[in-house]
Each structure stands twice: as C-alpha cells, then as structure tokens.
C-alpha cells in the first residue's frame, strides 16, 4: 500500500484533466510538462485545494477522496509550497513558522529547529516577510511547510518565480531535503535541469494527460521523450566519487560499467553524486583514436530513434548499467553503420555533476 493512487477527471471549458496515476510514496517524484499540461492542477487536487468531481485519491492506503469521502485540505497531513512564497505578511518569519505548528497535535510536533537549520534561516526569525529577499522568502515557506511534520510534501514550481541567482541559492537546500527528508515529495516543474537534479521518479504530462511515468534514469533514457526536452535531452547516471587528480584538477566518478572524469568540484571521495550527460555532448566512434575528449566509454547500441529535426537521430548506448544518449546527424549514423547491438566507443565531451 506504500503508494499514492490518484485518479482525477476534471472537465472545465478550456481544460481537461484525466489522470490515473500510481506514484511511489518515497523519494522525489517530478511532475513535468509544459505550462497548461495540468501538473499544477493535479497537485492542487492531491492537496484538496481543487475538487475534482470524479476523483479518487488514496495515500498510503488512506482514503483522501472518493465518491463518499472528502478530506478537506486542513485535515490532510501534507505540506504545500507554492510558486510564490506566499508568507503571511502580518506575521514575522517565526510567526509564519509557528502558524502551522500550533495547529497540529502535540504528538505530531517535531522541533521546528530542524527545519530552521535545514533551510538556514535562523538569522531571519524576527523579520517581517517584506524585509526578506525572494530566495529567503521561499526558504522560509519551505521551512513553514516542513514545520507541520507532513507525511507528504507538495512543491509547485518553488523556483519558477526566482531569477537564476536566487535559484542557485535555493537549490543546495533542496538537495539537502532530497538527501535528508524521509517523506515523499511531489515536485512540479517545467525545468529539465531541476528535474534531472532532484527527482527520482518522473511523470511527464501534456494537455491534462500523463504521457510517461517511471523511474527517472529509465524515463530520461527513453527516445520518445525528447520533444519535451529539446536541447536538454540527456541521461543521468548515479555515480560515486572514487579519486581526485590534484595535478589536473579533475575528479573521477565511477558507475557500474565505467568511469568518467569531471572537473574537481571539491566533493569528497566516496560521496554519491548524480551525473548528467546531455545528448548534444555525446558522440560515437567505431574505433579509438587520439582526441581531446578524455571520457571514452565502450558500449553497445541499445536503440535508435528520431529527433525533432528530420536530419537528426538519437542513439541510445548501454554502458554497463548506465545508458547514454547521443544526438547525431542521420548521415553520421549511416556512415558508422549504427544498428542495435553494435559495439561503439562513446565520447563524452562534458558531464555535469548535479550536487
């Protein structure tokens, strides 16, 4: 029963939502799609902020909505983070944090200190929200949602209203949530980089329907997805830092089936780190030669698919347990005589460490 089973049907004049989803009740699940795809509406239905007339929702076996039951939002053990921080402007930061805390049973109360520490807001507690920066406000909003000790955390594009600098300020805190929180998170986003960095499970939505739903690495490696990712198509690999080369300022990360070198970003040896490789940074060769590219892996062509442009192809290669996708011209694919099962050398021009 450790899952969220959400089945909603809404028919508004300009928008329909029709989903029947079973989501894992652990880790971060990203609801991904273009604006208007219904991901926020789905999240609001799960929170009870929107009431789908034909809906059924069970969370860990507990019925939150069906034909006979409707649990109102304030009785659902969830935390919700809106796109804009939406702090109560008449209360201080501490007042905001205590608002929800005072309303839960004493038995369910956990120390709000942990949330304050986790989000790094201890120096802001006496301030009013209008004295905070955008990033600080959103951190307070996240801490406020955590203070009610939710069993499910819902995040609706928490970074979308922030500029790049503020995003960079918050992302490390979201990483910490990902690493330290034991509760499941549903994370709505239309930014591929956030999804690749934070999610464990991916749901892709379009016009109110679910297109694809599955574990992140597996789903990103699907070749029928790229239309929604464009330049951002790429795969992720879970790796472990195994060595640091101080002479060249490089760092080696290992995964089952090979290793990659990346710029040394100061991550300690032994730490797990998620690596993202974009399809446009991957090229294929049928023999080894001298090249400026340091990361060369041996793999087997797993699948070949079309890219958006008729001249381009996407080729998926299996390297050990990992999958990489290369974006090539169809002419290059033809001249290499690529076909499923063929052994190739994979050249990776750059990798991004998502930590």
């Amino acid at each position: 029963m450790e899952s969220i089973h959400a089945c909603f049907r809404i028919e508004w004049s300009r928008f329909c939502l029709d989903v029947d989803l079973k989501l894992p009740l652990r880790g971060v699940t990203a609801l991904f799609g273009p604006s208007g795809s219904g991901k926020t509406t789905l999240l609001r239905c799960i929170a009870g902020l929107e009431r789908a007339p034909h809906g059924r929702l069970t969370v860990g076996g507990e019925i939150w909505q069906d034909g006979h039951h409707w649990v109102p939002t304030h009785k659902r053990p969830l935390g919700y983070i809106f796109q804009e921080a939406s702090l109560f402007s008449h209360l201080t930061v501490l007042g905001n944090l205590h608002y929800g805390l005072r309303r839960i049973s004493t038995a369910a109360r956990v120390s709000v200190e942990h949330a304050i520490e986790l989000l790094g807001i201890s120096h802001l507690l006496d301030r009013k929200p209008d004295r905070l920066s955008g990033g600080e406000r959103q951190r307070v909003a996240i801490a406020r949602a955590l203070a009610v000790n939710p069993r499910l955390l819902l995040m609706d594009e928490p970074l979308a209203a922030l500029d790049l600098k503020r995003k960079q300020e918050i992302l490390p805190y979201l990483d910490r949530l990902h690493d330290e929180l034991k509760i499941p998170v549903l994370y709505v986003s239309h930014a591929p980089d956030e999804v690749a960095r934070l999610a464990d499970h991916l749901v892709v939505m379009e016009t109110g329907r679910v297109l694809i739903d599955g574990p992140l690495a597996e789903t990103l490696a699907r070749l029928d997805l790229p239309i929604y990712l464009g330049e951002d198509i790429g795969t992720i690999i879970e790796t472990t830092v195994s060595a640091v080369d101080n002479e060249w300022h490089l760092m080696r990360v290992d995964f089952q089936g090979g290793h990659l070198w990346a710029r040394d970003s100061g991550i300690l040896v032994g730490r797990r780190v998620r690596v993202r490789v974009l399809a446009r940074d991957v090229s294929l060769a049928d023999r080894l030669g001298h090249s400026s590219i340091q990361n060369v892996l041996n793999g087997i062509v797993d699948a070949i698919g079309d890219d958006e442009h008729p001249g381009l192809a996407l080729v998926r290669v299996k390297v050990g347990e990992a999958r990489l996708v290369a974006r090539l011209t169809k002419r290059a694919a033809s001249s290499l005589a690529l076909q499923v099962g063929k052994e190739v050398w994979v050249q990776v021009k750059s990798v991004a460490l998502l930590e």
Partner: protein, 249 residues
C-alpha cells in the same frame, strides 16, 4: 459645558434657552444632538461590523450568479434619494409593514420615531460604506493566503480570523470610519424615520436644520463648523493613515 437635559424643556422655550447660553460655544441642546449623532453612528458602526463583514466576505469570495444582484442591492443607498429609502423603511416598519408586524410580535413595539428605528434605518443607509471597503480589502487578499492557511491545518473559520481579518485590517479601519462619519452626516433618512424629537431622534444634522429654520444663524454656524471640522479631521486621518503598499510576499 455641563450636559443638562434640555430635552425636557418645552419647545416654546427653546429660543429663549438658546439666547441665555449665547456666550457658550454650543448650547446644551446642540451638545445633546451631537451626542445623539455619535451614539447613533457608534451603534450603527458596531451593528454593521457584525452584519457587513459576512456580506462583504461572501461578495468577495462567491462566484455564483447571486453576486451581481446582492452587490447591487448593497450599493443602492449610494444612489437612492434618502427620502425614497426612508419612505419604504417607514412603511415597512409601520404598524402594517412586515418589519413593524415582526417588532410588534416580538414585543418591541414600533420602530419609527425611536432611537432603534434610526439605528435600523441607518444600518440600511450606511451598508455600502461598510461592505464596499471590506469587500475590496478581502478581494485584495485573494485566495492564496487562505489556501496557505488550509495547508497549515487551519479550518476555514480559523483562517478567516487569523489570516483574512489581520490582512484586511486597514479595510476594517477605513470601512468603520466611513460608516461612522457617513451616519453622523445623515439627514434625509433620519427625518423620514425619526422625525425631530429632542434627545431621541434629533441628531446634529437635524439640529442645524432647526436652527436655520428658526433663523438662528449663529448657532447654525457653530454646529455646522463643528461638523465640518470633525468630518475633515476624520477623513484626514483615513487618508493620512495609509499603510505602505504591500510588497509581494
């Protein structure tokens, strides 16, 4: 300026009485009229805070088709001649009117020409001055803070008192002051419903009318000046006390 009880003075002696107190800024009957105006305005403001708040809340939140008609009815006193409103209220509160029958059945007697009749009429007449600023304030809050409150375990009523009311506080202040001053400045409805009974229904605006009718221009001037200064100061307070526009939170 000791507040005696000039209401008990016979009507014929009023001019003589006023002459005796020529040296005072305001006569006792003027003060009584002012006191009655403020008592009426205070009572009406309190009643409307209780009555207007739920109406304003409903108007701000509903999406139903009733919003239009109810909003229009609330706004009617803004455009209706007070005599029209007063006439209908007088009929309704009279012995054969629906309100009159109700008050008689309840053992309250008839409302016209009593203080509480004035209160009832003024509640109708000042309704938009309470409801509209409140409605605007509630609409400005939007749905979001209430949704946030719900996700933080606050029931709708809890959220109303702990989020909506504090956030709409400037609206409450503005609405109360406008209601109070508007009721103080009322004339037509008072005359229709209350008549002109000293100490019971003769409020300041009616008192000025009386002074003018009796050619007591000095007294009229004094009382009118008091009303003018009072109204100006109150409005000054409303317009000066404007919290800074909220930055996005």
């Amino acid at each position: 300026m000791v507040l005696r009880c000039p209401a008990k003075l016979p009507k014929t002696r009023r001019n003589e009485h006023a002459l005796n107190e020529r040296d005072m800024l305001l006569s006792d009957s003027d003060l009584l009229a002012l006191w009655l105006s403020f008592r009426l305005a205070g009572t009406v403001t309190l009643v409307l805070l209780l009555l207007g708040t739920p109406i304003a809340w409903w108007l701000a939140r509903t999406r139903g088709w009733w919003k239009g008609p109810i909003g229009a009815v609330v706004a009617l006193p803004l455009v209706l001649p007070p005599s029209v409103l007063g006439f209908y209220l007088l009929v309704a509160m009279g012995p054969n009117g629906p309100i009159g029958r109700l008050t008689q059945t309840l053992g309250l007697g008839l409302l016209p020409f009593t203080f509480w009749g004035l209160v009832a009429a003024s509640v109708f007449y000042s309704l938009p001055f309470m409801v509209q600023p409140l409605q605007t304030a509630f609409e400005a809050i939007g749905d979001r803070p209430l949704e946030v409150a719900a996700t933080l375990r606050a029931s709708p009523i809890d959220a109303f008192f702990t989020v909506a009311v504090p956030l709409a506080l400037p609206g409450f202040v503005t609405a109360s002051i406008l209601t109070f001053t508007h009721t103080v400045g009322e004339f037509g409805v008072v005359l229709m419903i209350g008549g002109n009974l000293a100490g019971i229904t003769r409020v300041a605006s009616v008192q000025i009318y009386d002074h003018v009718e009796a050619l007591e221009y000095t007294q009229a001037h004094r009382l009118a000046a008091v009303m003018l200064i009072f109204s100006f100061l109150v409005l000054l307070a409303v317009y000066a006390w404007r919290p800074n526009p909220k930055k996005g939170t």
